[in-house]
């Protein structure tokens, strides 16, 4: 560990690979570098200032048709040789007990580059200026003495990767990512309510500082503070069945849990059964299952400008492009990379992704979006005699086959005789995935569309937390069981 050999500052995976030949029949090397700064202010005072710098490589080795991985942050020749040997040993150890045989088609010989948007670099704002903005946001959230807690957080991330294989792949990608979280807690005696901007850390975009418009954020913070006060004084959400209008910042969760995860091909193959679970979707359902109403059009879309999980290639070098997963309510395609596609004999998408240099790629959601329809928001509200509007996720739970879900939101208003009326607090709803999507009766137009995401999608063994994006218009569902808090 203390040998004088050092890693070159400008690390070149292609030349590094050339020094590893002989360890295995085929090798791949994925270098990942990420610098992420998390700036958090609470009640106008610094709460956390943390910069995380991550740099390491995952070596893939194939021996006798078996693939295995070894990760290291020691990028010296000796460190990489050790990792390559370890991956080769693991591949040999898997031997006749490996799930699948490797073929070079699973790692296409693609060469290319991809850069996400960034108009204004992160270093054009000083830490002092950024902190002052967050302190000001806290002040705007505190619209009353009943606001007892305020928090303002921003995470700025620069991420780059380079993937090269002895089979000829060489791919470089670079991203800038911004996540925001602004929240007010209101208290009046024993009643406590929280309101944030679109739910905790749902504001996630690719881009530079141009994604942060603090003047607009300040105004939204004041609104969040006022809505927290409204919730304090509100009645509890009714316990009954009624039409449900979901805002895009809750649709993100609805799509994620009840469409995204069940369509992951590695779940359908059973890889995930011991952790997050299996799926109600079976291989024979593709092309046959009516997943939802004819208004339901869901697309895997790695190319929506600014959405959180845009990329050009996944982590096995497969070029990413748009694909319909569900069109007109019919299930067409799953979320699975080349390995799952080969094992199942089904089409998929380029979504074989790893959370960092120390994890092997698995099938993940990326950007998964519901296409806009043709209803205006006013038309959707006007069409409801007895319903409820909910926004901003605060609670989520779904079974291991992704059927029975229960979700809660921060904020809700009743819809009565075609009009938004009283605010109600502690709104929740529950349902079963396919019947719920069949109850989709109106889809908002592009004016009602919102783009969100999360850095916290958990899955895999060993566990991985990955970034996903979800965009959706407002959507109206018919006859949903809703309920409030208490007891």
């Amino acid at each position: 560990m203390n040998a004088p050999e050092t890693a070159p500052a400008e690390f070149d995976p292609v030349s590094a690979l050339s020094g590893l030949t002989g360890e295995a029949d085929w090798l791949g090397l994925r270098l990942v570098e990420e610098t992420s700064q998390h700036r958090a202010v609470r009640n106008g005072r610094p709460e956390r200032n943390q910069v995380r710098i991550s740099r390491g490589a995952m070596v893939e080795a194939v021996v006798d048709g078996r693939l295995a991985y070894a990760a290291t942050s020691d990028l010296s020749r000796a460190g990489l040789r050790e990792a390559a040997s370890r991956a080769a040993r693991l591949a040999r150890a898997s031997g006749r007990h490996a799930v699948a045989v490797f073929s070079q088609g699973l790692r296409p010989a693609v060469r290319g580059n991809f850069s996400g948007p960034c108009e204004r670099r992160f270093d054009t704002l000083t830490l002092g200026e950024l902190t002052a903005n967050l302190i000001a946001a806290c002040a705007r959230l505190r619209v009353s003495g009943k606001i007892v807690e305020t928090s303002a957080e921003i995470t700025l991330t620069e991420h780059s990767s380079r993937y090269a294989t002895t089979g000829g792949a060489d791919i470089a990608q670079r991203f800038h990512l911004v996540s925001q979280n602004f929240m007010a807690t209101a208290q009046d005696g024993p009643e406590i309510q929280r309101r944030s901007l679109n739910g905790p850390v749902a504001r996630c975009l690719q881009g530079g500082l141009e994604t942060l418009d603090f003047d607009r954020i300040y105004g939204e913070c004041e609104r969040a503070g006022r809505e927290a006060l409204e919730l304090l004084a509100a009645e509890d959400c009714p316990n009954d069945t009624r039409d449900l209008l979901l805002a895009p910042d809750q649709m993100l969760l609805q799509i994620h849990e009840s469409v995204g995860h069940p369509l992951e091909l590695d779940r359908i193959l059973g890889d995930e059964r011991n952790y997050a679970g299996w799926s109600f979707v079976r291989p024979e359902d593709f092309g046959r299952l009516r997943y939802g109403s004819p208004l339901m059009n869901i697309r895997f879309d790695p190319a929506v400008p600014g959405e959180f999980a845009c990329y050009g290639f996944d982590d096995c070098g497969n070029r990413a492009d748009r694909q319909y997963l569900i069109q007109g309510g019919l299930l067409l395609r799953g979320l699975g990379g080349l390995e799952s596609q080969a094992r199942l004999g089904l089409p998929g998408v380029a979504n074989f992704r790893a959370a960092g240099w120390n994890r092997a790629p698995i099938d993940r959601m990326a950007n998964l979006n519901l296409e806009p329809g043709d209803s205006t928001l006013d038309e959707m509200i006007a069409s409801v005699e007895r319903g409820i509007y909910m926004s901003a996720n605060r609670s989520w739970s779904i079974d291991d086959y992704r059927r029975k879900f229960q979700f809660g939101c921060e904020y809700a208003r009743l819809i009565e005789d075609g009009r938004l009326t009283r605010v109600v607090r502690n709104p929740n709803y529950r349902g079963v995935s396919v019947p719920f999507w069949h109850s989709l009766k109106r889809v908002g137009n592009r004016d009602t569309f919102g783009i969100f995401g999360t850095p916290f999608c958990g899955k895999g063994e060993p566990n991985q937390m990955i970034r996903v994006g979800h965009a959706s218009p407002h959507c109206l569902f018919f006859g949903v069981a809703v309920f409030g808090g208490g007891r």
Binding site: P46, I192, R273, A360, G408, P462
Partner: protein, 454 residues
Amino acid sequence: MSFARDAHRLLERLSEASFAALCSGEAASLSLSGEDQTYLRFNTGKVRQATGVRQLRLELDFRAQDRQAKFTTDLSGRADQDLCKLHALLARARTEAAALPPDPFAAPLENHGQSEEWREAEPPDTAAVIEQIAATTAGIDFAGLFAAGPQLRAVRNSMGQSHWFAASGFFLDYSLFTVNSAGEDKAVKGLLSGAGWSEAGLSAAIEADRQWLDRLRFPSRTLPPGEYRAYLAPAAVAPIVDLLSWGAVSYGAWKKGGSALRRWIEGEAPLSDKFSLRENFALGLGPRFNGLGEVAPLQLPIAERGRLQNLLVGARSAREYGVASNGTESGLWSEEQLRSPEILPGDLPERDVLKRLDSGLYIGNLHYLNWSDQQSARLTGMTRYACFLVEQGEIVAPIRDLRFDDSLYRILGTELEALSEEARLFRATDTYEQRALGGSRVPGILLSRFRLTL
């Protein structure tokens, strides 16, 4: 454990050099975490992915003039290179600290003493483990994760403090699947863990699981939502204890309006006098020191016979609210967290569980818990794995999974009828970013009523 020995020497060198480079009025702490793990993921008894992970992560906590800046970086393990990186971070930390306003609640770095704990064990041969799992589970649909290798946590600071913990061990977290006579998939869950791998231990566990699988092959019953008498096996209680770390027993969360047990803490709502919860580091699942080097008490009672004894207090909450820290760690997701919780067992022998349950549900596991109304301590989740309908003290049939939505004031309060005499140890199996330390020990609980909703 040469990995850990090398890491120990590396941290010594990094701390000596970086602390010597501090200027007057500056202080710093270095926390090191690392692992040299082999992870084997299985599906249908075969290896889906095999991954070796060797990683060392260093956190620099820099203080100057009441300002705090933190930096985390991956280390190469090569001292000269890592020292260059650390010196660059120190320079950046000075710049950042100067740009920040004072942080009045950052607890100053202090010398919280010295300790070293080594639990060395030779990791098992990977090829042998794969062969043994394949042979032992032949004919059964087996999925799971095996992890083995050294893990370490350490913290040193410029005030002279030094704590070190290194351990080596394994876990095999697995599921066995079968198809019942109606064509439905059913499964049981298992966990083996410890310092040394044993093929005999695996065989015994799988053999015991086969008996549950036999019971799961009967046709499932679909039960309507409603209130049921229920026994939650220890593996179903463990995730409820995990959820308590989402603010419920955190002093900081309580003060900020984020504790689900606020009414209990403030004396407005009781918990059962059968319920006792403590942090118990005597379980030996991880280090007692936290990221600042504060050493938690060996045992810290939180609830004794239903009465509040202590909340978890970290150094930041202690400084903000003027109370004493009890060495608690704050997590990535929440305020102060439980690291080694234990619910004290009761007087219901496991052999009598079905008889005492009489008619109701035997719930083997719960899945995907979350607060459905945190202010009311209401939580929701799903039944999972081996869950059965029991009538007159006999298992009648497996059930189709149900959603529950109930309150801690009922589960740990009014409806808590008994706790099992035996408790089970659950070593942590989380592996986000790195393999976790810690875990819990919990008994099963018998509930007079348990609310199922979907």
